[in-house]
Symmetry: C2
Subunit: 251 residues, 2 copies
């Protein structure tokens, strides 16, 4: 069996799986079959290092030629029969939000609540067993944006987006750290915590303790793709600011 | 005849006219007929206050219900037979570029070259008569982006994007103000000046000295639309930065 490293632009797909225009069916067409996946990311979420398992090794050039725009297979590793890509040592996600005056120290205090083993039932959606471990949540102030880096073995459905919402809400004074603590410790199911927007979340990597063969040419192509989309959306979002400002003058 | 105020998100259309998925055919379906237009903006260029002329007045609610997402008619004025929307007192465009360390004083010096009446043959594309007047070019440093505001009676094909390129290139030291001056004064046709990316350009308004009736409800809807797209693209462009940084570590 082969484990493949997969990257995609979440904006161009209807989620990872379960829809004709999601990532997985496009991968299956190029790889032959997809037997397992590392993470089923939500619609709108991008990934650099997601992993899928397929029966046989095909040349990466041939695979990528059969993939649509915004989706790449950029590495592979031979893995034993029975390798389960759900079982990882560590997953790293980053959540990005434009800076809107959040108090970074309050965000760090809120983030520290979630680190460790907890029952995340009030910070997950539709799961029976919500007990899992977060290794670390790093909160960085990057001047124009806030960056939350999550490390853990595995995360429950919507858990990262709900925790991201909670940390940002604490930083904005919308909820207190004490309220979040109470909600995390409560065994009752409470009013669901909102999920922060999907487009802020990126799956960076999944560590299985195995070494992948990587293709630098494909990585270079990905680099150029994401750089040009970054520049396009940066320019567009600034252009929209001018339209917004001018509409505001008319209202 | 009726002159209508038209706004659109340039990202969603194949330019203003000449393509089945451009702005004008969509307007014509909702308005009945389009007899004239204020500005034929390039593909990718957004507008807040473009103008089209149509034979009869329809209720704005009915027009907007027939328009696709990202296109609005938000005002109207009765105009005389023979009103030519190409002939305006003043057009205002803004060009936005993410800040990349440009020298703002050099940009202001470069911008001042273009103000006044000039033959813009080396800063326009495929036009016979390139003589026109720019009233002003305002260069503002908005910390994360540079904003160039152009005012003039009318601009030649690609002229604003070529002048924006020239001003930004001067600010980055790619060309000198003296070289631009020489190019503007030269009567020979030289190697074409590149055009700055279309997504940075926005048509803000066209002044005909007439008063339009405007619809605040439609403006409010436009405001929410552009605000949510601004936030989406801001978040996405920051997410792409994280992917780019992590690819760079692997290269």
């Amino acid at each position: 069996m082969i484990a493949y490293l997969v990257a995609y632009d979440g904006e161009l797909f209807y989620g990872f799986t379960g829809h004709p225009r999601s990532v997985e069916p496009a991968l299956a067409r190029a790889l032959g079959r997809v037997l397992g996946r590392g993470s089923r990311t939500d619609p709108g979420v991008s990934a650099l290092g997601n992993v899928v398992v397929s029966p046989e090794l095909k040349p990466l050039g041939q695979i990528n030629a059969a993939l649509p725009r915004g989706l790449w297979v950029w590495g592979y590793a031979n893995v034993e029969e029975g390798f389960n890509p759900r079982r990882a040592r560590e997953r790293t996600y980053v959540y990005i939000a434009p800076y809107r005056g959040e108090d970074v120290e309050l965000m760090r205090r809120a983030a520290s609540l979630f680190v460790g083993v907890h029952d995340f039932r009030n910070f997950a959606k539709g799961v029976e067993n919500a007990i899992t471990q977060i290794f670390s949540i790093d909160v960085e102030d990057r001047a124009t944006y806030i960056e939350l880096t999550f490390k853990g073995r595995g995360f429950k459905n919507k858990m990262l987006r709900k925790i991201a919402w909670a940390i940002l809400a604490a930083g904005r004074g919308v909820v207190s750290v004490e309220e979040l603590e109470e909600l995390l410790k409560s065994r009752e199911r409470r009013t669901p915590v909102p999920s922060a927007p999907a487009e802020g979340l990126v799956l960076l990597s999944i560590d299985y303790g195995i070494q992948f063969q990587i293709d630098r040419n494909i990585l270079s192509r990905m680099f150029r793709y994401f750089q040009s989309k970054h520049q396009l959306y940066m320019s567009l979002s600034y252009s929209y600011i001018k339209i917004i400002e001018n509409i505001a003058k008319l209202l």
